[in-house]
Amino acid sequence: MLTNAVRVVSVNNLIEVRNLVKHFEVSGGLFSRNKRIIKAVDGIDFEIKAGESLGLVGQSGCGKTTTARSLCLLDPKTSGDVNFYNSESQKMESIDEIDDEGLRQFRRNMQMIFQDPYESLNPRWTLKDIIKEPLDIHNIGDLKDREEAVIEILKTVGLTPPQNYLSRYPHEISGGQRQRVSIARTLIMKPKFVICDEPTSMLDVSIRISIMDLMLNLAKELNVSYLYITHDLAVARYMCNRIAVMFNGKIVEIAESEELLQNPIHPYTKRLISSIPIPDPNYKRERYEVNYDELDKIISNNPDKKMIDIGNGHFVASHDTKGFFIET
C-alpha cells in the first residue's frame, strides 16, 4: 500500500493526504427519493514534502480540481485525512482536529492560484486592495507595512514600477499581468503550500513560459511547495518533481517526473504520454489505445486499491486481485 510504503516518518512532509474521498449527491428531483452519488474523488493518497512540487495530471472531470478544493476546505470532504505540518508545534496536525488558531495558521500557509486570470480578481477592487487582501483578513502589520509589502511583492513578480499598478483595476492590465497579480496575492503571506489550478492554461503560449519560470524561481526563493494541477504532461514535467496521474477519482500512477515519462507502466499513463504531440510533421507517435469504459469497469470492480512499488519511488495501481494491472 502506498501509505505504508512511503510513510517515511519524517517532519519533512508538508502535507499528507490519506484516503481522501469526496462524493457529490445528485438528487433526482423534488419528489424522487433515489439519489445518485458521483464519486469525484474516491480515496486518494499522496504527500508533498516541503519545497517539493507535485503535479496532478489527468483528463478533465477526473477529480483534480475537486481534490484541490477539498484540500483547501472550500468544499468539505466526505471522508479521509488531511494532515498539515504546523511549524509552531513542529508536528503534523489533522485539519479536522485543529482549533481556530490552528485553522488560522493553516489558512495563512495555504493559498490557491486559479485558472482564469480574468475571473479570479475582483473587478471592482484596485490591484493594491486585491494583493493586500490576505494581510487585511489576517490583520498583519499596519497600513503602511501592508503597502510596503504590496510594493515589495509587485517587484518580486516583475510588475515594475509598482506605483503604476497600485491603483489600477484588473481590466486595465493584460492576462499575463493579471496572473502575475494573482501570484503576488498568493505569495504575499509567504505561504508554505500553494495549490495551482492550471494557472497557465488560459494564457498565451508566449506568456506561459515566463509565468512558469516566475513560479519556479519564487518556489526556490520562498521555499514554497506546489500542488500543480494540469492536464499537460509537458507542463507538469517542467514544473514538478513528482507527478501523480489521476483517472476517475483515483491516483493510478505516481512517480518522479522523469521516471514517469520514461517508464510509464499503467495503461492510462501510457495513453496520456502517447498523446503528447511531437513538433515534427514527419514523425507520428504511435498511439497507445485504451478502452476507458473497460478501464473504468476494471477499476470500480476492484475497490481494493493496492499500489505496487516498482522501485525508485514509482507506484502503480493494481486493479485485479492478483496484484497486477490489466494490460489492454
Binding site: L74, R108, S120, N122, E133, H138, I151
Partner: protein
Amino acid sequence: MDNLKNEKEIAKSLRRKAISKNWKLFKQSRLGMVGLIIVFFFFILSILQPILFLTGIWDQGTYNPVVGYVDQTQDFLVVECPKEFPTEKYEKRTDCPGRNEVNIKTLFYSDGEVGETIQLNLQPAPPSRDHILGTDSLGRDVFSQIMEGSQVAFLLGILSATLGVGISTLLGTIAAFFGGRVDAYLMRQSDLVLMLPTLPLLFIISAFAELKIWHLAVVLGTIGGLGGSVITIKSQALQVKVKPFVDSARITGGSNMKILFSHVLPNVAPLALLFMVFSVTGAIASESVLSFLGLLNIEMSWGLMIYLAQVEGYIFSGLKFWWLILPAGLSVTFLTGGFYLVGRGLDEVFNPRLRKR
C-alpha cells in the same frame, strides 16, 4: 514619500479617466441623454421654487401652491336674455351677455337681480404675465403647483426607490449567498409579494390609514423591495458568488460577512442602481394614481391637480381649461419617461453586451 505622492496622483488621474470613460459611454446613448435632460429640467424646477420664495421674487401670499390667492375680479352687470332671437342687440343666443355683462343663469356662486352690478371671480384664469401657466379655480398659481409637485415626485421616487433597492439588494445577496432554507423562504416570499396587486393593496391601506408622502414611500419601497427585484438581484449575486475571487478570499480565511460586503455587494451594486432608476418611475406613477383618486393625505401633487380639475368638472370641457390638466399630466409623463430613459442609458454603461461597437 515621493512614491506615495506619485501613486496618489496616478490614482486620481485614473479615477478621473474612469469617470470620463463612463460618461462618454452614457453620452453615446442618445435616449439616455434625453432622459437626463428631462430629469435635470424637473430637478431645476423643484429647487427653483424655494429659491424664488427665499429671494422674495415670489411672495407667499400670491404664489404659494396651496394657500396662495390672487384677487382677480371684475364687475359685471346682470342682464336677462330676451326670449326671442335674433334681436338687434344679440344676433346669436350664445352672444346673449355682452361685454361686462353676465347672464343670470351663469351666476352660480352669488345672488343677483337683473340690473344689479355684481363682482365676479375670474378664476381659473388663463396664462398671463404674472401667472405663466394661469391659475386654478381657487386662484392658486399652476406653475408653482407644478414645481411643488415635482418636489413631491422627486422626494417620493428617490426615497422609495432607495428603500426598495436597499431591501432587495440585501435580501437577494443573502438568498444567493446562504442558499438552502433562507433562499427558499425569501424566494417564496417574493413570489407572494409579486402576486399581490400593488394598487388595490394601496387602496385598502389608505382606507385604514392616512397615507402621507413618507408613508407612501415606505409602503411602495417595501412592496417593490420584496418583489421581483429580489429574484433578479439574487441571480446576479449567484453569478458573483461562484467567481474564483470569492473562493480565494474564502481560502485565505475571509468571514462570510466580509465576503458578502466586500466582494458580492460591490459587484451587484450596478444592477441595483439600475433597478433603482427604473423603480423611481413606478413610484411616481403610483403616487399620481393614488392622489388622482383622492386617497392620499397630501397638500399638493401632480395627481392632485388633475384630481381637482376633475372634481370641479373642468376636465370635461375639452381643452378650454387646458392649463388645469395638461401641465400636470405632461409632467407625470415626462418625468417618469425621463427616469426610464436614464435607466436605459445606464443599462448600456453597465451591461457591456448592449454597447454598440
